[in-house]
Structure formats: structure tokens, C-alpha cells
Amino acid sequence: MDDPIIRLDNVEKSFGDFRALKSISFDIARGEFFSLLGASGCGKTTLLRILAGIEQPTRGQLTIDGKPMAGVPANQRPTNMVFQSYAIFPHLSVRENIGYGLVYQKISKAEAKARTDEAIELVKLEGLGDRSAHQLSGGQRQRVALARALVCRPKVLLLDEPLSALDKKLREEMQQELRSLQRTVGITFVFVTHDQEEALTLSDRIAVMAGGKVLQIDTPQGLYERPNCLDVAEFVGTMNLFPAKVTGVDGAKAVAAGDPSGEFAGISAGRPAAVGDTVFMAVRPEKIAIRAGAGQAGRNQVAGRISSVSYLGDRSHYLVAVDGLAAPVAVYLSNLAGQGMVGTPGADVTLSWDETSVLVLDRA
């Protein structure tokens, strides 16, 4: 990447014997909304704190805006952070909190006040300037934390699960606001979340992390359509997995015999599969067609029996039990006009899908 705002080169972090981050290398582009996605404990916060300068990497190089960050303390970095706990100063008013970092900007008092006002308006806290932290709701605290960081006009804004403490409705509202705010201010956002839906909704690109490693970095669509490994496939969205053994390979295309039964064809996700590999043939629930009646089993086609149906309004979720598979196969159908339900629990059905919808994933 040319002229990235952030470059991580083999960054590692150990706490004693515990390796919290293992050889992290990637770039973040200017103006990008970049998310770190992963289960709790995978090292997202640690990575963010290294970017902020609160934590020092054990090894490796971090460059922000072209400058190496080794030895640069947090207060001299062009980054600001929205903490997971918001870290609102309890002894200061909303206005004093938001203006906290402005004393270090070379601006006049009047300009500082104008910028504070502007930030208060930006995050819709008008009229609350004189309140203190404990008189604010969770959503309002989150806005104060956001304004306090943005008002310093950092080159990079770091956000550590800023929405996880909010209820669902407020969270969705704030997601929209965050996204449009990021477009307005044009600052690079590095956003930490464990919520894959949130990451998919907001981000330009997402790094999926597990166990201190980055598994895949891609656009939301790329992650969903072309996960490069089993962990990513399972973490992002729902995935049906059919264990199989590869019997034929043609470039990226692979044919595999189902284990214990069935026959599948699909496209290799990471490195091309080789004959004899034990793999999962992976299919997203919405790519599967479902037909009433026990049809002939064939390539990318299995017979099963509906074990449950959930009607969700715009779509229905079917769980179909297939002989030889431990987990039932999930099938999502849009409830389009004129389309009735396929069947009720207990009904025999046939599932089929296109080979371009099948990913061949290494069985870990």
C-alpha cells in the first residue's frame, strides 16, 4: 500500500510468557474505516493500545503517518482513543471533558471554545455542557468520549468497542452516526468490536483476529464470500460445513466425496486443495435451495428432513437434519411474494446449491 497512515511490521506483544499478539503485519489506508474483529481475549484491545502508545510492542515496528513510533509516548502521538469504559473524568463537566486535550493545541481560548461548541454540536450534546459525568446516560457518555477525542483532530481515531455497552436500538442508531461522522471528518477510524454484524455494517476493511493472530484482512463482502479459513468462515456469518475428502482437483476447483456420504464440488478458499485432503465443503445458508420431497442425492445435493422452522417476517430459517451430519443444515429463504412455506418439521426435503457457492476449507 502506498503511503499508509498506519503500518504494522511484525508487531509482537508478550505479557510475561503469554504471547498476546503474534507477528502482526498490515497497513491501514488514510481515511479508512478499519475494524479489528475477534472474540473476547484475542488481543484487539492490546493492539489498539499499542497504536495509542499506552502499551509498547515487545518486538516489531509501528509507523504512523510515516513516522516510526518507537519511543514516542501516548501524549505525542497523532492518535486519540475512545475507551471501552469511556473514561469520562468524573471531576469535570461535559464541556471540560471535551476540552481536556485542547490546552495542548496551539490555539486561542476563543478558538478552543468554538471548537468545543462545534464538537458538542457534532455529537448532539447541546445544552448538556455543564452536566457532570454521572448525570449522563450510557449513550451520552459515549458521545462525550467521542467528542473529547475528535476535538483534538487526530490523524487516527481509535475506538475500543465503543458501542458494546449500549442497548440494541441505541447501538444501531450510533452505528449509523459513527459511519456518517467518519465520512464528515475524514479521519481514519480503527474500530474494535467482537460483533461481526457491526463490523460488516461499518467497515471499509476488517481484520479478523484469533489467538493474537490476524487471520484475514478483507472487505466485508470479501470476508463473507471468501473466508480464507475455517475460523473466519465460522466467525463471520453462519456456515454449513460438510466434512469430505478430496478426490479430484482442477485448478482452484475441487471435487470431494462426502464423509460419510454425498458428493460435493467447490472452490478452494486458501491454497488449492490436493487429492486426499480432508476438508470441509462450506455453504452459506442463503445459497441453498430447498425443495419439498426426498429427491435423488447427487453432486451438491442432499436429502434431509426439516427439524425446525423459524418465521422471521422477511425470511424463514429452516434447520434440516441430514443423515450422517452431526449438526443440522441451516437454510435461509427470503419470503418473496407468492412463495409459501416449503414444509413443516418432519417433512422430507431436498437441498441443492451451485458449486460456485461452495468453499473448500482445510479441516483444522
Binding site: R49, A52, I54, N75, N80, F83, A87, F89, H91, S132
Partner: protein
């Protein structure tokens, strides 16, 4: 809170209230009542009089003490009051000055075995107050540890007499006796500070020192104020320390009250002195809290 739970709360509190009323309120009431009586010979005259209070402010020739004129016919209580306040003030400053770094160290630098450190800190309190004061007498005394040590080292020929029986000895002893009481509230208020607040301050541009000044110090104020009052209020009226290590020059107002009650046989006057002392301390504490904007701070920090 509903009426029911208020009642439950009150009934739960009532044993504590009773004990407090018996041990705190009753003596104060007795003291107030007594201060309006008078002593005549060996008997106490129980008719109401203001003469004890009048005696304390009765104009007269007076004395000059450290350049301050006390124009009273009976100036001893006034002089001792001012002197006690000054000595307690200095002792309190010393206590807070020593306790603060200890509390800070405990809260921010000690990671493991915090409980052990806190227990170590309280070890001096396993012995009685009297014993601790006595031990200072041994340290500072004519044949005490400092004098024998210095003489053994050949640094002095004669024991230093100025170590004991003066206001400085009283202040050192007071400071030592109260330091652990001051460390604990300061420690608690520092320990309570969310570490992410400090990280946020750094992130927003603070250096270590500005962060200390802008976040740590203000957030420690409730504990620091509590510690200040906890030391200042009881030391003003202390009489054990001045009696044991103060000598005639180190006398404080508490010593006078004790003398009035026990030796000079004028309990009503002693009661009046106590009451006036209590009122002055209360007024000073009120003024202090008002000056530092305690109400506003409490609203914020809670």
C-alpha cells in the same frame, strides 16, 4: 425508598443510634449543661450562669505571645487555643505530606502483596497510643536513643536538651501517631481512580506531571480532605502527647481542660473551655470545606 424500607433502615440503625447517643451526645449535653454552672469552693452551684464564658473573654491587661496580643484578664485559654491550633496545623501538614507519598506508592507502585503492606502500615497501631507516645519519649529523651547515639558517635558531648519537652517534640509525636490514619483514606481514594482515566489523560496530551495535577490530585481530594480532618480535629484537643513529651512549653488546650477538671477543681470552667474549643474547631472545619468547594466536589465525585 419506600416507607417500609425506610422503617427497616431506621430500625437497623437504631442500635447504632442508641450507642452513639449514649457515648457521644450524652457527654456533650452534660458538658453544655455543666458549662452554665459554677464552682464555689468544693461544691458546684447549679444555678444558671454565663460567668464561665464571660471569664474567657473578660478584658484585661493580657499577655503578648509571639507578637500577638491577647487582651484578656485570663488569657491562658485563648493563648493555648491558638497555640494548639497552630501546632495541630503543622502536625497535620506534616502528616499529610508524609502520608500522601506513602498512599500513592501503595496505590500505584505496589502490585503484589498490597494487603501485606497495609498490615505493615498498621503494625504501630497494635500497641496503645500511650505506649507509642512513650516510645518517642525514649527516642527523644535526655538519655534517649538520639542523644546516646550522637554521643556514642562522638558528635556531641552533652545530651541535647532541646529534643524533648517542647512544641516540636509534641508535633513530631502527633504526626507519627496519626500517620496511618491519614494513609488509609488517601490510599482508598487513589486506589478507586479508574486506571483508564489516567490512560485517557495521557492519550489527550498530558505528560506524567500534568496528568497527576489534572486527574490524580483532584480525584484524591475526598480522601485527602478526610485524612486532613481525621488528623486535625482530634489532635487539637489531645492532652496525652503534650503531657508526656511537651513539658511546660508544649502544653496544649487539652492539657488545660484536664487541669481545670482534675487539679484546679473548676469543672464548669473546663466545660466552657471545651465547648468553645469544639465550636471553634467546627467553625474552622466548616470554613475549610467551604473554601475548597467541598459541596461542588462531592456532587461530582460522590
Amino acid at each position: 425508598m419506600s416507607a417500609g424500607s425506610t422503617r427497616t433502615g431506621l430500625s437497623l440503625l437504631s442500635p447504632a443510634f442508641l450507642v452513639m447517643a449514649a457515648t457521644l451526645l450524652a457527654p456533650v449535653v452534660a458538658l453544655v449543661v455543666m458549662s452554665f454552672w459554677s464552682q464555689s469552693g468544693f461544691d458546684i452551684d447549679r444555678s444558671f450562669t454565663l460567668k464561665n464564658y464571660a471569664r474567657l473573654v473578660e478584658p484585661g491587661e493580657g499577655v503578648v505571645w509571639y507578637g500577638i496580643r491577647f487582651p484578656f484578664a485570663y488569657p491562658v485559654p485563648a493563648v493555648l487555643m491558638i497555640k494548639s491550633l497552630a501546632m495541630s496545623f503543622v502536625a497535620t501538614i506534616c502528616v499529610i505530606g508524609l502520608a500522601w507519598p506513602m498512599a500513592y506508592f501503595l496505590a500505584f507502585r505496589v502490585i503484589r502483596n498490597k494487603a501485606m503492606w497495609i498490615i505493615l502500615l498498621t503494625i504501630p497501631f497494635w500497641t496503645s497510643y500511650l505506649l507509642r507516645v512513650f516510645s518517642w519519649k525514649i527516642v527523644l529523651g535526655f538519655n534517649g536513643a538520639i542523644n546516646s547515639g550522637l554521643m556514642w558517635l562522638g558528635m556531641i558531648k552533652e545530651p541535647l536538651e532541646f529534643l524533648l519537652y517542647n512544641p516540636v517534640a509534641v508535633m513530631i509525636t502527633l504526626a507519627h501517631s496519626w500517620i496511618a490514619f491519614a494513609v488509609l483514606p488517601i490510599y482508598v481514594s487513589l486506589e478507586k481512580i479508574d486506571r483508564s482515566l489516567l490512560e485517557a489523560a495521557s492519550d489527550l496530551g498530558d505528560s506524567r506531571w500534568t496528568r497527576f495535577r489534572r486527574v490524580t490530585l483532584p480525584l484524591s481530594m475526598p480522601g485527602t480532605i478526610a485524612a486532613t480532618l481525621l488528623v486535625f480535629i482530634p489532635t487539637v484537643g489531645d492532652y496525652v502527647t503534650p503531657t508526656l513529651v511537651g513539658g511546660p512549653g508544649g502544653m496544649m488546650i487539652g492539657s488545660l481542660v484536664q487541669q481545670l477538671f482534675l487539679r484546679q477543681d473548676n469543672a464548669p470552667l473546663g466545660a466552657a473551655v471545651s465547648i468553645v474549643m469544639m465550636l471553634i474547631i467546627a467553625a474552622l472545619v466548616g470554613l475549610f470545606l467551604w473554601l475548597i468547594g467541598y459541596a461542588r466536589m462531592r456532587k461530582r465525585i460522590g
